[in-house]
Structure formats: structure tokens, C-alpha cells
């Protein structure tokens, strides 16, 4: 490790802040162990926009908006905003849907996996295992020639669309038009004060764009570069920060049972995260990273984000999302179908040597 590398410290600080703020957001009002959870936020935001009818999951999460817009501001300030894309666009929409499917079956994205672990929720261990295996399989697929096509500079400016959309959503958040739904009760009714959540989202989006912070990226880089990988240290700092705040706030309750927003179908947790890890490795980042990349003009990531929003609606409407009582039949079928799709893609979308 090059301890004098500024980028390394930026990654570590980003990870640490993400971990601490992730737990603090739950202290300030977000659901337990869900201070930051891209998949949960996607589901509730989809509900707010009327994409599903679960009355308990409707709230346009300002953190999500902050991630994209914070990244946009960072990229714009540093002149890193480049409208680019064109690599397997439709596949990326489906990838976004499947990312949410995997997360919904696990009940959480890779960031929430770490937050739950830092709170002592041992049921995530199978998910962690699945995530690591999934990233490994994705890397193996890439090494064997799986290629989604090159990303090119996009003169049409489609990279502006997703930041533009999220800006519009931010306007909706403040203006509160009649079609925007908000749950009076349930998980979506639990939220940190809007300004706080937005500020945290903007800060983390900004820092994540600068540092390229990504949970699955950290796992991927540990496979490729071992302990030298800055992203790995960023993930470790994330875990450390989250654990520290969990302990200080008395939220650390180790155990398998009675954990908030968790089920004990360990096999399906593992498979859900396997799907997430695998896809994340193929498309270049976890759900959080996709949001950040879309903010810096990557329209491929933007399509993944659109897919994730759609997925947020689908997993609630079709009963795919798991609950504390376990994984539904629809969830099991969806995860298995998603894994089959990824396997087929890995087998048949290879570039000839």
C-alpha cells in the first residue's frame, strides 16, 4: 500500500464516511439497518412514483437523488462529466432489474449488507459469501471473453438525461405534486429529515464520484490486486465506520434471529447476492456505483438506473421482494431465472478469441 497516495486516502475517507453516515441516517430516522440501501430506496421511490401499490413503501428518497446529483456536481466541477454510452443498452436495463431482484430477495443492496453486518446481523453471512462468489464468477466470465461492448463518447448528450431526470425528481420532492405518494405508515414513513438526507446523499455522491468508491469494486479489486487495492481499504473503512457508530449508538445486536428487516432463508440470501455480485462485476459496479456513474454522464449506467427503478416497482408488484417471514415462490423463481440469464449471457456473449 502506498500510504502517501492521495487517492487511497480519498477512498478510505469516503468509505469511512459512508459507513458512519449510513448508520447515522438510521439513527436520524431511516429504517433500522437501512440508513443507506439503494435497493430499498429504489423500491420506495418507485412506489412514490406510482410504479407499485405497496402502501407501506412509498417515499421519494432524497438520498438517492443526492447520490446522482452529488456525483454530477463533482464531475462537472472537475470537468469529468462526459456523456458516454452505447454498450449493450437494453441488456443494461435488464441488468438493473435483475440487480434489484437479487437485492430484494436478500433484502438489501451490498451497502446494506455491510450495514446489517455492522449491526451484528449474522444472517448476512450467506449473502456476503454469495456476493464474493458472484463477483468472482463475473470476473471469470470477463476473463473468458464476455464483453458487453465498448462504451463510446456520446455526442447526442444522452448522459445528461439521468441527471436531468433526478433533478426533476428533486423538484417533485420539494413541490410535492398530487401524484407523488408518501406512506403515512410503514418502512417508507421512517426517514431522516429531508434536508439531512439530501445533504448526506450529495456529500456521498460527490465523494464517491471522486474516489470511485464501490463495494463490489472493492471485492473485485481484492481478487485482482490483493491487499494493494485502495477500494478494498475503502470497504474496510466502510465496515469500520459502520461498526464504530453501531457500537456507540447501541445498535450492535449480534445474532441470527430477530434482526430488523432480515429473514433466515440463508440459501436464498446467498443466491440473491450471488446474482448481484455477478452482474455488478459484469457491468462495472454495484447499484450505488451505477447511480454515481450515471451522475457523471455514463448513460450505460443511466440505463441500469432506469432498470433499477423499474425493478423496484416490479419486485413489489409481483411479490418478488422477500420479507422477514422469508422468500416467496416468486422471489425464488426470479432469482433462479436471473442467474440462468446471466449464465446464458456468459456462455454466449463472448468475443471470439
Amino acid at each position: 500500500m502506498n500510504w502517501r497516495d492521495q487517492h487511497y486516502w480519498l477512498v478510505v475517507i469516503t468509505g469511512f464516511l459512508a459507513g458512519t453516515l449510513g448508520v447515522l441516517l438510521a439513527v436520524w430516522g431511516n429504517p433500522e439497518n437501512s440508513g443507506i440501501c439503494v435497493s430499498c430506496f429504489m423500491e420506495t421511490s418507485a412506489g412514490a412514483l406510482g410504479l407499485h401499490n405497496n402502501e407501506r413503501m412509498e417515499y421519494l428518497r432524497p438520498e438517492l437523488l443526492g447520490f446522482v446529483l452529488g456525483a454530477f456536481v463533482s464531475a462537472a466541477l472537475l470537468r469529468e462529466f462526459k456523456s458516454r454510452g452505447g454498450s449493450a443498452p437494453l441488456a443494461r436495463v435488464f441488468a438493473g432489474v435483475l440487480l434489484i431482484v437479487g437485492c430484494a430477495v436478500f433484502i438489501g443492496c451490498p451497502i446494506k449488507l455491510v450495514l446489517r453486518l455492522a449491526a451484528g446481523d449474522l444472517t448476512v453471512l450467506s449473502g456476503l459469501f454469495g456476493l464474493v462468489i458472484g463477483v468472482g464468477l463475473g470476473l471469470r466470465g470477463l476473463a473468458h471473453g464476455l464483453h458487453l461492448g465498448r462504451t463510446r463518447q456520446d455526442p447526442s448528450g444522452s448522459g445528461w438525461l439521468v441527471p436531468g431526470l433526478f433533478l426533476l425528481l428533486l423538484v417533485f420532492y420539494f413541490v410535492r405534486p398530487g401524484f407523488l405518494l408518501q406512506s403515512p405508515y410503514g418502512g417508507a414513513a421512517q426517514h431522516a429529515p429531508g434536508w439531512v438526507a439530501l445533504a448526506v446523499g450529495l456529500l456521498l455522491g460527490f465523494l464517491a464520484q471522486r474516489s470511485r468508491f464501490c463495494i463490489t469494486g472493492g471485492v473485485r479489486d481484492s481478487f485482482l490486486f490483493g491487499l494493494r487495492a485502495p477500494l478494498l481499504w475503502g470497504v474496510i473503512a466502510f465496515v469500520g465506520g459502520a461498526l464504530l457508530v453501531s457500537l456507540l449508538t447501541g445498535r450492535f445486536q449480534p445474532g441470527f434471529y430477530g434482526q430488523p428487516g432480515a429473514h433466515t432463508d440463508l440459501l436464498w440470501s446467498g443466491l440473491g447476492m450471488l446474482l448481484v455480485g455477478w452482474i455488478s462485476a459484469l457491468i462495472g459496479g454495484c447499484p450505488f456505483r451505477q447511480l454515481v456513474k450515471s451522475g457523471e454522464g455514463d448513460s450505460d449506467a443511466g440505463l441500469v438506473v432506469i432498470g433499477m427503478l423499474l425493478g423496484g416497482g416490479i419486485v413489489q408488484s409481483w411479490g418478488i421482494a422477500a420479507t422477514s417471514s422469508g422468500v416467496s415462490l416468486a422471489g425464488k423463481v426470479a432469482v433462479l431465472a436471473g442467474l440462468m440469464l446471466v449464465v446464458v449471457a456468459t456462455l454466449f456473449l463472448r468475443e471470439d478469441a
Binding site: 433500522e32 439497518n33 440501501c37 406510482g50 398530487g178 407523488l180 405508515y185 410503514g186 430477530g258
Partner: protein, 181 residues
């Protein structure tokens, strides 16, 4: 035929006009009063009213059961619930009331099952601030249940009934702990 430069200027003008039109439309809509103003789609309000109606219906429907319970007529209350269940078979509130009676009468396994069914049907009962919240009662049955069922399992580790009840107790415990359901 339009030259490129002229075409571009026309497009910019069109953009400005459209933006102005948008502003005018929005400002007029927000500023206007009278019947047309009330036609704005307000799903949030509709949702809130639907919820309030449900709460009122539950209070009316299960009112006789609550009266019997207050008079200590647990069995009669159970029979009344059985009658209501014929008309409203999937109603969560009936399950919660049944669970509380079963708990009072010492049928812990059945009480836990009823509460779990009720909470799965509607998560309102585990909310902290909800007119339908039953957090206290659920917390009580979880505490009692964990003690008694754990003791049963300690002496009879293969008892399937106890294992099934334990699973449902953990589910209720998890719901009480929170999460984004």
C-alpha cells in the same frame, strides 16, 4: 429552404416560447381557485381517506367483539369473530383479536400463529405510530412465547410444534425490530 443558421434560431425561439408556456401553465394552475382547481390529481389525499375509512370500518365491525372482551366473555368473543370471519375471511384485525384471546386463554402456540398471520397480512400492527398499532401486545407475546417455547425446546429439542412456533416468534421479533417492510 431554411438555412441552418435560421433553422437553429427558430428552434431556440421555439424553446423559449415552450419554456414560457410551461411556466405560465404551471403558475396558472397553482394560482387558480374554483372547481377546476380541485380537479388536481391528489392520490395522497385519496390514500389517506381510504385508510381512515378502513380504520373506521374495523372499529365498527369488531366493536361487538371488543365489548364482549371487555366484559370478560372471551369464548363469546371468539364465536363472534368466527361469524365475522365468514364474511371477511382475510381480514387481519380478526387475527389479531383472536391472537389476544388465545393468549389470554393460554393457547400460546395458536396466539403466536394468529399474531404472525395478522402481521403478515397487514404490517400496520407493528408500527410505532399507527392507529392500529399492537406493538405492546405483540411484544408481550414475543417475550412470553420465547421464554415458554425455549423451555419446551430445551427439554424436547425435536418437538416440531415448538420449532414451528419459535420460527414465528423470531418473525414477530424481527418485525418489531424494524426494517423497511
Amino acid at each position: 429552404m431554411l438555412s441552418r443558421g435560421l433553422f437553429d434560431k427558430l428552434l431556440w425561439l421555439a424553446l423559449l416560447l415552450l419554456a414560457a408556456a410551461l411556466v405560465v401553465v404551471v403558475v396558472r394552475a397553482t394560482g387558480s381557485s374554483g372547481p377546476s382547481a380541485n380537479k388536481v390529481l391528489d392520490k395522497a389525499m385519496e390514500r389517506a381517506m381510504t385508510y381512515q375509512s378502513r380504520v373506521a370500518l374495523i372499529r365498527e365491525l369488531y366493536g361487538p367483539v371488543e365489548v364482549l372482551l371487555q366484559a370478560g366473555q372471551d369464548q363469546s368473543a371468539l364465536l363472534k369473530l368466527a361469524e365475522i370471519e365468514k364474511t371477511y375471511p382475510g381480514e387481519a384485525h380478526g387475527q389479531m383479536l383472536k391472537g389476544s384471546i388465545q393468549a389470554r386463554l393460554g393457547a400460546i402456540d395458536e396466539a403466536v400463529a394468529s399474531y404472525a398471520t395478522g402481521v403478515k397480512l397487514r404490517g400496520d400492527y407493528v408500527d410505532k405510530e399507527n392507529p392500529l398499532s399492537w406493538r405492546v401486545e405483540i411484544g408481550r407475546i414475543v417475550e412470553t412465547g420465547l421464554q415458554t417455547v425455549s423451555a419446551r425446546l430445551a427439554t424436547n429439542p425435536d418437538n416440531r410444534t415448538a420449532k414451528a412456533t419459535m420460527k414465528q416468534l423470531y418473525y414477530l421479533q424481527s418485525r418489531l425490530a424494524g426494517g423497511c417492510e
